[in-house]
Amino acid sequence: MYSPRDIIEVIAGNVRKTRSPFAIPRSMVNTWWKKETLRSEGDALLFTGLMYQFIPYIEKSTSYLEKYEDTKLASLVRFAKYQPKRLSGIGLALMTPGEKKKQANEILRNIAKVLTRSDVDFYYKPKLDFYSGILLYDLGDQESFVEHAKFVSGKLKRAGVKKIITVDPHTTYALKVLYPKYTGESFEVKAYFELVNFSSSNGGGQVTLHDPCFYGRYLELSDAPRRALEKLGVKCVEVRNSGTFTNCCGGPAESISPSLSKEVMERRVEELRTTGAPIVAMCPICLGNLRKSGAEVEDLSAVIARCA
């Protein structure tokens, strides 16, 4: 187990200085939109919160953390602030494989495709797409979270943003529930799959959904992806622990204790595998963590986009 104090100080320091938990410049992380023709004005702002873009970097940095957990080198995390090569910063960016970055970008392109197919009046502005700060909230660094959240909500408010479309459960929870509570700014927030409104006969087949804790419990949104898939003719085969009683993928513990994270993940994958249907996730943290088991896990956006 790593010292939470060290991890918190590294992440809080990075967010304070660069507005990113890994201190990688936004221009390097957020490139998915470059080959797309997206409008820069419209009714609702597509806000990725950069979480999908972070997956490859999280995987790379936790692969180091995994290696050194409970060894003498674990204490070096404290010095990551001064020696950022492996845990954050440009060094980490350069060590992260390009193939993984492409996969993450593909997910966001699929989401844009699904929204377009659903005739949603949306726009995208990379300058307004920020990390929500949710990790600071989860780690209990309330002061740093509120400071960052006020910065982000202020930018959105000044840009006249009223409606927001999100792509992952953590950012959705931050914007929908935490921002009004802690920054005083409210937006009309919807997860992208709530807006899917087309039917298709290209679908078919079966999937088993892994509900993330935030969509399943905190936001009670589990019905929405199921409704979307039903319209596409995709059948959902349920496991016992789903919806409001879903089980965690273990991901949230990965920076503090990779071994605990793995143990929780293995138990969950075992349950998901019992249906025999392909596993589908809808959160970047779940996706990355469940895939560590070696199981084939697809993102919900890919399943919907295939029918678009």
Binding site: P4, I8, R217, P252, A253
Partner: protein, 100 residues
């Protein structure tokens, strides 16, 4: 000797913890929590009730094993919000670290 701080529950108010006293120690949260060891999170809620502030500060790392998955909060029969209590304790500990 361990000191008991009867005002601990009140002190936690400003970290968003105001439901710990609702808990009647049934253990449902510990039974459902994916961290299958040592009565987590019930034990922590009990510490608050007992004013065992020092016990929490002695081994604060344990709190960060919590995944904030919300299963305990979902199933608690007393609406004691154990998951949110753990998050509030993390805030209390971070604040304590920063001050010292």
């Amino acid at each position: 000797m361990t000191l008991v701080h009867p005002e601990f529950a009140e002190e936690l108010d400003r970290f968003g913890v105001d439901t710990a006293l609702e808990c009647f120690n049934c253990g449902t949260c510990a039974a459902i929590c994916p961290l299958i060891y040592e009565h987590f999170p019930r034990k922590m809620v009990r510490y608050i009730q007992l004013g065992a502030r020092d016990q929490i500060l002695e081994h604060p790392e344990e709190l960060w094993r919590c995944l904030h998955c919300g299963l305990c909060t979902q199933t608690c029969p007393r609406e004691a919000n154990p998951g949110e209590v753990i998050l509030g304790l993390k805030r209390f500990v971070v604040d304590h670290w920063r001050r010292n």
